[in-house]
Amino acid sequence: MKLEHLGRKALALAVLLALPGLATAQEMVNAEAYREALQDKFANPGTMVADRGEILFKAPRGPKNISLEKCDFGLGPGKLEGAYAQLPRYFKDSKKVEDLESRLVTCMTKLQGFSEADVLKKVFGDHTRNESNTDIEAIAMYVAAQSDGIAINPPLKHAKEKEALKVGEALFFTRHGPMDFSCKTCHAEDGKRIRLQELGNYASNKQNAQATMKTWPTYRVSHGMVRTLQSRMWDCNWQMRLPDLAYGSPGSVALISFLSHQAKGAALDLPGMKR
């Protein structure tokens, strides 16, 4: 009983002591120190997810018992270095513009023989249940990391690539859902914040778009796992109170096309690490 009482007192004291910490200037300094600490690649757990992705990538898997080493990400089968930096792009075999993750779906179904339903059954690990990253998340992290240091440079030659960019830009500004939101609501002005989170201006600030896009996929400390661009696109739409944006859907790829073109020229810095 006495201990419990002491515990309460200690808690009250701790709360009192914590109050002066609410000073905002102090918080900003701390936030920057925190961000700086996240730059340490050797301390980035995303590298371990990429390592797991490499094992999965090279292992014979699926009904056809074949590895993903024959998968063409745009620079030729098995050529991974710099491939992610040039996505999304048009692929002749699927006749679609694909980002990294929709390309993985194509290869896992066409090459390895998985059914699409199986691949799409669970694409994101659930951080609220303390799960690990899914296989497709780990593979995406691995493939993306092979473009570390290479400038984002998605092609814009094929008519469908041009269309994806145009539609992606239009989608960015399309308001819908019960909140009347579009991406623009949060991401079209400099220096804005939602709650305490700084927001990037991806509509007209190239530096903002570059700083964000060069660090995806990223290890999200608050989720305790790697997050990919497909997850980020889904997340924004979910927060906008919309239905689930389907993994690898043409809308998600178009948005990623738009954002990738906005960020063109930035050297990828992978795996990223964010709060």
Binding site: A170, F173, R175, G177, P178, T185, W238, P243, D244, G251
Partner: protein, 212 residues
């Protein structure tokens, strides 16, 4: 050729000032059809997917067509239509309890659907107002997407007109500004009229921390 650049400059200046109304849609019929098709393909039907949420009403369609910068006549039509949409609490009281309003000003994580991470359907909904607008000086985690509202009632007083304006603005921001970035919280069913009256009190009441 000679006139090309001065004209372009003039256009840029007007747009930057925000004074000019658009006269040509940014999204033409062809592009709209393309976007609609992509949206339909990207949000498939299924368990807990409420596709009716994707439906754009006349106002949002107009805003999308002109990327929120609608022509003057259309802006007037939006304001007229959205004003008519406003509904009031059954007891007619637009000034509720600021303490309850404080709760709903901050609360916001509900109403998310889908299968990945849905909220419980009956989870009590707040306005999540602080995510965009500062108000209570003790709240440090406020966002800055909308204007700060600290001292809102202190500045404006608590007259019937101010109370009604505040209620109406929260219920339907587009009754005042066509294509306002603020959600139409009452009209879209995020908040009930009673909750809006409580939030109104939180902003207007002299006893509320917003005005201390």
């Amino acid at each position: 050729m000679k006139f090309k650049y001065p004209l372009l400059l003039a256009a840029v200046t007007l747009a930057a000032n925000g004074a000019a109304f658009a006269d040509k849609p940014v999204v033409n019929t062809k592009l709209k059809a393309e976007i609609d098709k992509i949206i339909a393909l990207s949000f498939p039907a299924g368990e807990n997917q409420d596709l009716s949420r994707l439906k754009q009403d006349d106002t949002i369609q107009a805003c999308n067509q002109y990327r929120d910068n609608v022509p003057e006549k259309m802006a007037a039509a939006i304001i007229e239509r959205e004003t008519k949409n406003i509904k009031y609490p059954a007891d007619g009281k637009l000034m509720g309890d600021w303490k309850i309003g404080q709760k709903y000003y901050t609360m916001g994580f509900a109403y998310r659907i889908g299968t990945v991470e849905p909220d419980k359907a009956d989870k009590d909904r707040g306005g999540n107002c602080y995510a965009c607008h500062a108000a209570d000086p003790k709240e440090v985690a406020y966002g800055t997407i909308g204007p700060g509202l600290t001292g809102y009632g202190k500045l404006r007083g608590a007259s019937d007109d101010i109370v009604k304006y505040t209620y109406d603005k929260i219920y339907n921001a587009q009754a005042f500004t066509a294509c306002s970035q603020m959600p139409r919280l009452g009209h879209n069913g995020i908040l009930t009229p009673e909750k809006i009256a409580h939030i109104t009190a939180f902003l207007v009441s002299p006893d509320s921390p917003v005005n201390k």
